[in-house]
């Protein structure tokens, strides 16, 4: 099971990093969200994986580690705040510069891209 869990974290990290390196704001926000999933799962897993051991006194015989859970709970909420802030930043940048490029620079659309666009349209 550990291998499967590790692969999940690895996949989330990879996909997150790839999207974070994109040039437009929206994929970057999505990438950050994916990366935070990965990081949250990783932090959570430092308490090791255990089924049927929820840390509620009297509910189980052995309990899973409550400390990483408390940390991750706040990490999820803070992660939400960060995502929301980033979205607001992206929108503000779009409002001010009229493009959604992460560097705030307008790039010329090439002919290829216009073809690309029509394809997407269909």
């Amino acid at each position: 099971m550990e291998l499967v869990f590790a692969l999940v974290i690895g996949t989330l990290t990879s996909t997150g990093i790839y999207l974070l390196l994109r040039a437009r704001t929206f994929p970057v926000v999505v990438g950050l969200t994916l990366l935070s999933y990965g990081v949250n799962l990783f932090l959570f897993s430092t308490g090791r994986l255990m089924s049927d051991g929820q840390p509620i006194i009297g509910d189980a015989e052995t309990y899973s580690d409550p400390l990483p859970q408390a940390l991750v709970l706040t990490a999820i909420v803070i992660g939400f705040a960060m995502t929301a802030f980033l979205v607001a930043l992206a929108l503000r940048s779009h409002a001010d510069t009229d493009v959604d490029h992460v560097d705030g620079i307008k790039q010329q659309e090439t002919a290829d891209e216009q073809v690309d666009r029509t394809e997407n349209n269909q």
Binding site: G10, L19, R24, S51, I57, A81, V87, D100
Partner: protein, 936 residues
């Protein structure tokens, strides 16, 4: 007690000096003299102890963990320096009273001078090396301020900057050296350091430590190749030059070498580094001094040369040479300070310092001329004056220096040559200025004698030159003996302080120096012509060029790294993270640990497969943003399931509700942003990014696998045991959040509140025109508020609120709590915005979310502060059980009030963020009204 008083009093008095400046120059001069007079009176009672070879020490703890203490130490050497600083300081105060013009900022001048004096006393009286370093840096800073006293002059500012850069840089080296010494012997106390000489000298780090400490000393004492800051510091007012740059501050480096002499000297490295630096500086300074037309420039290079002489004496390594060095410190301070003051008087009365224009002043100011001539004769080393005595001792030691082979002739040769130069430039000072024809184009003509009291300091110092020169044993014998024994750290060999030692080699060298120097001066025009053939290296220009070049290089380097592209920064960030993570991880070895793998649970594995597929799908479809977003929400839901399956119900609930809010937020942003991402990056770049992503993913997989299969110990036992008895709740995660680690949570919700307010502020004055069609050219739906959605969502609201109350209340014992309840409430409210539009909802929710937010953080903070009122530390919680009819036994905990704060903050922050974004629509444009619902 008296030692700290001596050091700190000038600082205290510096605060008062500007006040006294209101009363004029005399009042502030008198006020500024107080600390020196008290200081002298406080030191006097200790003299008896010192004369018997004793030491006075006082120590107070400061930061014991760092080895830093507020300790002071008075022995012969520090007494000698303290006396010089205090007495010459008094004379300078008197002199400056007449030197400064009434309209100048006298208060500032005296305040800075006093700060400098305190720092200097701190250096010489410190009993702890770290404490000494603090005062050392303070002298650099006050010196900077004093050199740039006339801050309207560009040269003064530049000279001050250069002095600060050189001496400050040296201070850093010194700090490193001191830290090394402290590491070697485990103490920074001077007494321990001086006692541990053998340990230090045999330590493998000794060469490095010595080099660093000497760098500090050489920069401060203007030794070659750092000498150039001193002539450029001559832009300072003359009292400053006389005090700092001849008598005291530049001697701090010399003092340091003498102070640490028992700990550091006596090795080959010390000998070669110190004596050769001294020798080069001695010769170079004396040579350049001859060619300076500026009076103060001549004196500055002469000072460089004499500092080199003292350094050379300390470097020679013999005890007699060290004694000669200490003796010359006294002599140089007296004649050089008086010469500077005389130069200041000449400048003051004639308006120039250019020796090509200053001639024949004897006619106009015979009194000053006499004083200056006696002091200059001492500088040249004329018998019956103090300069002669230490020079003879120096010549004798130069002859004694046993260098191998022909090298043995080098020191006497250089000594004689430097002697010849010294006679030549002293002769120039006397003959050029006071005789040699008539003055040319003086700005103030005719010059006359300065005010009576301005000459008193010069007279006192010149008198000292004479008395020491004629009755050395009587006048300076005792203090020299005390200082020498402190420098050598033990027995003092026999030495003779007499005015003549009979006919011997040193006397012959003196005679040679005199004849040579006078010949050289008489033939000066030839030397000037010869010297003019070489292009003079302007140290200031070189320094400026180096500084601006370094600035340019670093600017270019920064610009090449920081080109304003976020993509570049993110890339560098990941690469740097890989490099930093690689080394420690590689050494750990990322194999499967001793716990091994647990069996695969097939439903979970299926979930994992779907999760990974959705994540990869998010990337593959990332150009079609809405599709990508839908796949992202699948990932989020499966993450929530993963938490549920591995015993974390609180996390699953939180993730689930956060997921809803996040996706709504992202859909909302898509309303404004393009629906589609163009292909911009070259395929090569995409492959590069993909490889980086792959490295990151593989790395994380390996780390996680290695981590999960290794045993570990957790500190959570404490929380599990104390949750119920200490926190009154069975849900350990919640008890940790609101009780054990309540302070963290308080910080956390504050961050949440700040982020929401940031979003609010960012959006408030920004307007975006929503597109008329969706990204692909399709028109928006005409039905902005679908009836079905509206009808379903409204009855849902009270139900959802009830659930959130339930989740909130049970949170302490069962999965739930403020965070989750807050998110559920937020989702319930957001669904109203989505279904019925922002206008409809705003009419019904009349409380601004900023207020809810503030209320939340406020309640949480007040709960914490409340425990102060009961005499407990911040955020101490307490709980009790009450039994109500019908409901039964019920627990009431203060943590619950805290959790209410959390709840309100989460609701306020989520809603403030979402409504801020939805109000982004430019309402003046026609499109937005009908499609507002789309923007929630």
């Amino acid at each position: 007690m008296s030692l700290p008083l001596v050091v700190l009093l000038p600082f205290l008095c510096a605060l008062a000096a500007p006040l006294f400046a209101q009363g004029g120059r005399t009042a502030s001069a008198i006020a500024s003299s107080v600390p020196a007079i008290i200081g002298l009176a406080a030191l006097y009672p200790h003299w008896k102890i010192l004369a018997d070879g004793g030491i006075v020490e006082t120590s107070y703890a400061w930061i014991p963990a760092l080895g830093l203490s507020f300790s002071f130490r008075l022995d012969g050497l520090s007494m000698l320096f303290a006396l010089m600083i205090l007495i010459i300081g008094l004379l300078i105060i008197l002199y400056a009273r007449y030197y400064l013009k009434p309209y100048e900022n006298v208060g500032k001048f005296y305040a800075l001078l006093l700060c400098f004096k305190g720092s200097m006393l701190g250096i010489v009286l410190s009993g702890n090396l770290l404490l000494m370093l603090i005062f050392w840096e303070l002298t650099s800073l006050t010196s900077f301020l004093l050199i740039s006293f006339w801050s309207h002059q560009q040269d003064a500012r530049r000279g001050a900057r250069m002095a600060l850069a050189i001496t400050g840089g040296g201070g850093l080296a010194l700090l490193a050296g001191i830290l090394l010494i402290g590491n070697m012997i485990g103490s920074y106390e001077l007494a321990d350091v001086l006692a541990a000489g053998d340990l230090i000298k045999n330590h493998s780090m000794y060469p490095l430590a010595l080099t660093l400490i000497l760098l500090g000393a050489f920069t401060k004492s203007a030794q070659f190749p750092f000498h150039f800051w001193l002539p450029n510091a001559m832009q300072a007012p003359t009292p400053v030059s006389a005090y700092l740059h001849s008598a005291t501050m530049v001697k701090a480096g010399i003092f340091l070498m003498a102070r640490l002499y028992p700990a550091l000297a006596g090795t080959e490295q010390w000998f070669y580094m110190v004596s050769f630096t001294g020798m080069v500086t001695l010769l170079l300074g004396a040579y350049v001094a001859m060619f300076k037309h500026d009076l103060k420039g001549l004196l500055a290079y002469s000072t460089v040369s004499h500092l080199g002489l003292i350094t050379l004496l300390l470097g020679m390594g013999t005890k007699l040479a060290a004694i000669a060095g200490v003796f010359h410190i006294i002599n140089h301070a007296t004649f050089k300070a008086s010469l500077f003051m005389a130069a200041g008087i000449i400048d003051h009365e004639t308006g120039t310092r250019d020796m090509r224009r200053l001639n024949g002043l004897w006619q106009y100011m015979p009194h000053t001329a006499t004083l200056a001539m006696v002091a200059a004769a001492s500088m040249a080393g004329v018998p019956l004056l103090n300069g002669f005595l230490s020079k003879e001792m120096f010549f004798a030691e130069a002859l004694e220096l046993n260098l191998p082979g022909l090298w043995a002739y080098l020191p006497p040769l250089i000594a004689t040559l430097a002697g010849i130069f010294a006679v030549a430039y002293s002769a120039r000072f006397i003959h050029d200025v006071f005789f040699n024809g008539k003055p040319k184009n003086l700005p103030n003509f005719p010059p006359h004698e300065p005010p009576r009291y301005m000459k008193i300091p010069v007279e006192i110092l010149v008198l000292a030159c004479l008395v020491v020169g004629m009755f050395p044993a009587f006048s300076v014998g005792p203090i020299l003996f005390a200082a020498a024994s402190a420098t050598l750290g033990g027995e003092v060999p026999e030495y003779h302080l007499t005015i003549a030692h009979g006919f011997n080699m040193p006397l012959l060298m003196s005679v040679l120096a005199f004849i040579g120097g006078l010949i050289m001066y008489s033939q000066r025009q030839r030397f000037f012509d010869f010297h003019a053939r070489f292009k003079e290296i302007d140290a200031k220009a070189v320094f400026q060029a180096v500084v601006s070049r370094v600035g340019e290089i670093s600017e270019r380097f920064t610009a090449s790294l920081e080109n304003g592209s976020l993509q570049r920064y993110v890339l560098l960030l990941f690469l740097a993270a890989f490099v930093l993570a690689f080394m420690p991880l590689a050494s750990l070895g990322l194999s499967i640990g001793s716990n091994g793998l647990s069996p695969i649970d097939y439903p979970s594995a299926l979930g994992a497969l779907v999760l990974m597929g959705a994540a990869i799908g998010t990337v593959v479809t990332h150009r079609r943003r809405l599709t990508s977003l839908i796949l992202l929400s699948v990932v989020g839901l499966l993450v929530a399931l993963a938490f549920a399956s591995f015993s974390a119900p609180d996390l699953a609930l939180t993730q689930l509700s956060v997921e809803v809010v996040t996706i709504v937020l992202l859909v909302l942003s898509l309303f404004y942003l393009p629906a589609w991402t163009p292909t911009e990056t070259a395929s090569l770049v995409r492959w590069r990014d993909a490889s980086i992503a792959l490295i990151g993913g593989v790395g994380m997989t390996l780390v996680t696998l290695a981590l999960l299969t290794r045993p570990f110990t957790s500190i959570s036992e404490f929380f599990l045991e104390n949750s119920k008895p200490g926190g009154g709740g069975t849900n350990v995660v919640n008890v940790i959040l609101v009780d054990f680690r309540g302070f963290d949570t308080l910080g956390e919700i504050t961050v949440l509140a700040i982020a929401a307010l940031g979003i609010y502020a960012m959006m408030k004055y920004s307007k975006l025109k929503p597109p008329a069609t969706d990204g692909f050219g399709n028109p928006w739906s005409r039905d902005a508020h679908p009836t079905m959605l509206m009808q379903v969502s409204r009855p849902l609201l009270p139900l959802a609120l009830m659930v959130s109350v339930f989740i909130f209340l049970r949170g302490h014992n069962m999965p739930g709590g403020g965070f989750i309840a807050g998110l559920i409430t937020a989702v319930a409210l957001i669904s109203q915005y989505i279904a019925s539009g922002i206008n409809w909802s705003e009419k019904r929710v009349t409380v601004p979310y900023q207020i809810v937010l503030a209320l939340g953080v406020g309640i949480a903070t007040l709960t914490g502060v409340g425990s102060y009122a009961l005499g407990y530390p911040f955020l101490t919680s307490s709980f009790t059980y009450i039994t109500l009819p019908v409901v039964g036994k019920f627990e009431l905990a203060t943590a619950m009030i805290f959790d209410l704060g959390v709840y309100l903050t989460v609701v306020g922050a989520s809603l403030l963020a979402l409504t801020s974004l939805s109000k982004l629509s430019d309402s003046t444009s026609g499109v937005s009204d009908s499609h507002e619902a789309r923007g929630i």
